[in-house]
Symmetry: C2
């Protein structure tokens, strides 16, 4: 078996705390598998290798449900045995391929390929040693059907009678923007260009004028270019895509302080609680008399909530929580959106300017505040979220209370992955993630899970909103409160929890989850 090795005198030590660090993606395979395979690969007979394995107490591997750690609870499977994620036609499909569509087929054909192939821009390309070829490994981009000069091409070969290089592409053609004396070009305007010269300097001067023109239309893809000379070959990628269209917002006229009405829209969803909603609005107006408030309302008997700078949207009865959130954000026309629940109360501590300052001065996309309960306890609900890849069966969702690190320059603020339901966010980023309208009742972290890799999230405990009291004994509740509770807190027989898990399983490809 393998044991933990240590090189005498090297002062090596096992990487410190953070058991989860070893649960890497390892080129898509489990740790043990990759390292073991390499160790026993049979390469280089005579070289002795001592493998190091993950320390006891590391993350549960996707294949074992018994591995446990004092820091983690056992992974909880999300899907009952009866659920199956079929891969046949008709199953949940169309995994988001991200940018970079698969390569196109024949010239003049079109995108007739199956969705889901890896983009050429993501493929592993190894740079070979001791090659006379010089070329751009990264950073070359052309707009669809446009032309660019290819930077950085050069040949540094040993002395010979004739120097020759060839460039081959698939989605475009090569040409030369200028002709250098002493160089012969073959294939100008075609997918294969050769340059020949007897003097190396002339060839290299000519290589400064080579252009690439994208000819097979695609709005977002990449071409892998082969660059070769006698006995050597290299590949590099040219990205082919439109420049991302900027999503800019009018920040309003500059002044001494932030113009909250121009920069921020307050958004909320309401259901059956008009008294609380009106109390929220009144509290907002004490401090922000002209800020726009957007209300998504799926009450059964809707009441108009009037007033300047108030927009109320009426939805089918009981359409749902995330549907309402998605509706509200779809109507925001300002740079930032402040999400509040309809039973919050603004106080002098609810300084939206402070949250705006964080987003104006850092690259964070969303910053949460604190919600103060009647007991005096303030909740920031900071959650770290990560996904452990698990192959075909599904991945494992991991959530842990806490934060990653402090936010430099902002005392009282930290960086994390999920926060409480009181946050300011860049409108464009929230829209990019969206609130899944299939989540009708119990949902919160789903938004942040859908936002992994998209949202950079912070949390400031010193910007606080009050939560209208919930501590009422059942017989003290008003009729509307009882009605509300009936919908808001589904019984175990309600389908909304299994809908939630169904989405985790089928939509997000999770098969288990752990939290603490």
């Amino acid at each position: 078996g393998q044991r933990q090795g240590q090189w005498p005198g090297a002062g090596g030590h096992w990487p410190g705390a953070g058991a989860d660090r070893w649960a890497g993606i390892g080129l898509g395979q489990g740790w043990a598998g990759v390292t073991g395979r390499l160790v026993s690969a049979g390469c280089c007979p005579g070289i002795r290798v001592r493998a190091r394995w993950r320390p006891a107490g590391s993350c549960p591997s996707p294949s074992s449900s018994s591995a446990s750690s004092s820091r983690w609870s056992s992974p909880r499977p999300l899907a009952p045995r009866s659920w199956r994620r079929s891969t046949a036609a008709g199953s949940w499909s169309t995994r988001a391929t991200g940018s970079g569509e698969p390569r196109q087929g024949r010239r003049g054909g079109g995108p007739g390929v199956r969705p889901g192939t890896q983009s050429p821009a993501e493929q592993l390309l190894i740079v070979r040693a001791n090659s006379p070829l010089e070329y751009p490994a990264q950073g070359v981009e052309v707009r669809p059907l446009r032309t660019i000069l290819i930077p950085g091409l050069s040949l540094q070969a040993a002395s010979r009678k004739l120097y020759k290089v060839t460039l081959i592409a698939t989605l475009g053609t090569f040409d030369v923007a200028a002709m250098v004396e002493g160089v012969k070009a073959q294939g100008e305007g075609e997918t294969r260009l050769s340059l020949l010269a007897t003097q190396l300097d002339n060839l290299n001067r000519q290589l400064q004028f080579v252009t690439y023109t994208n000819t097979l239309f695609h709005p977002n893809t990449a071409d892998t270019v082969q660059f070769a000379t006698d006995g050597h070959q290299a590949s590099f990628t040219i990205r082919i895509r439109h420049a991302p269209t900027p999503k800019l917002y009018n920040p309003g006229t500059p002044g001494d302080d932030y113009n909250i009405s121009a920069l921020v829209t307050i958004a909320t969803k309401t259901f059956l609680r008009y008294d609380k909603l009106r109390a929220l609005i009144a509290s907002i107006r004490r401090f922000y008399p002209t800020v726009t408030i957007i209300i998504a309302d799926d009450s059964q008997h809707p009441e108009p909530v009037g007033g300047p700078h108030i927009e109320q949207y009426f939805m089918p009865f009981g359409k749902g929580w995330f549907a309402g959130r998605n509706l509200a954000i779809s109507q925001v026309t300002t740079k930032y959106v402040l999400w509040v629940d309809d039973d919050f109360i603004f106080t002098p501590r609810t300084r939206v300017e402070k949250l705006v300052d964080v987003l104006e001065k850092t690259s964070l996309d969303l910053v949460g505040g604190g919600v103060r309960e009647i007991t005096g306890v303030t909740t920031t609900y900071q959650q770290k979220i990560s996904v452990q890849m698990g192959g075909e069966e599904g991945d494992c969702l991991q959530t842990r209370q806490g934060y990653h690190h402090l936010l430099e320059g902002f005392p009282g603020c930290v960086v994390t992955d999920g926060v409480v339901n009181f946050f300011l966010a860049r409108t464009a980023k929230v829209l990019e993630v969206g609130f899944d309208p299939r989540l009708s009742r119990v949902a919160h972290l789903e938004f942040f899970i859908d936002g992994l890799g998209v949202l950079h999230v912070g949390s400031c405990a010193d910007v606080v909103v009050d939560h209208a009291s919930k501590l009422k004994l059942p017989w003290q509740k008003s009729e509307s409160e009882k009605q509300y509770a009936k919908f808001r807190y589904p019984t175990s027989g309600d389908s909304s929890v299994s809908v939630k898990h169904g989405l985790f399983y089928f939509k997000n490809h999770f098969k288990c989850m752990t939290s603490n």
Copy 2:
């Protein structure tokens, strides 16, 4: 001046038609500038270079408004002289940075950097020739705070007494997953790792076990790793990001034909035209009795439109066209959404199954159909859209009627950039683009412009919906039609056109547009 050159005997020819192909991004600079600069750069005295310039009739350059072509109208400036896109604080800001946030600062600090810096994954990196270093130029990715094995590292150096390599990172640390006999490691678990050996084979075996662990949290960034040996250095990028969360949809139970009710939601926006809306719904129900229809309604005196599988959303009066479109799509829970105008009529030629087939079998994101007017003329409104970069002043939007190429496997279908207001689209992609709610009246191509690089668009002329007659003389119009026309067709004094141009100028960074 420069003249068109041709190398004798080379058989070179000027690249064929398509004048616009030469208006490339040219590393962010105009064509003339780059080539001219290279030609006169003073490199390599004694080497003669004859530049080739763009042929007469090419695209207007951003700096000249007089260059014209028989295929193009002169670019029309979008902004009156009084508009100014200030770059000072308080101006329209936060250009979407796309993926890859700027590098973080000190350890334990946080993202305190200015938004908008180029990502390390986009930087130009040149591979130097004749280097003994072998490494991965592309394709290495790690999840935030996780660990991976770095593939492809090797040293192919000439014989010497001692071989040494060093790896340096900024956002993470290196370590070794196994120890190879005969190799000394310094800096395990740190940002700088050195490996030393007297035998090259041992060092290369060790390089197969080098790991990288991301330690500075960021949900989507990249680290540039320096890889060096005596006298040689190379850089490569490790992407650090969460895997994109898939957005999957339930396709319903498989059957002989596509289950349109499970796969498709029909969405529309209505305003003051309940008679037409009801006619539309009745026509849909002839062919699709159970498909969900979502209606965004901003009429002043809303009327409930009842019926099974109908969802009606009431908005503030006159909130607007794109606000209504954004609301409607925010409520879709199926894989595809079919957009229709409220005055369309479904006929037997309105085969939604055909459009679903296109999106199921290709990587297109959206496919438009045809709209048949009372005259019998069917409009597909296929538009090619491109943006010519123009530097600080702004870019130039170019739209041209037509398509890029045929869609292989689907006779009657083509690939283009913009289509008519009758289309089927992947819900997730439409949500990714969104309809800007600031466009209240006149807007159509804005959606496709915002979608450049995101949407891959097709058009099939043989899937046709009828357009309820518009050809009525003014005195024949009903009261509601007159009321509708008042809002729908703004007079020149109306602000909506300048709002549209204002958005083009400030939001999309366009300073001119051309079309034919």
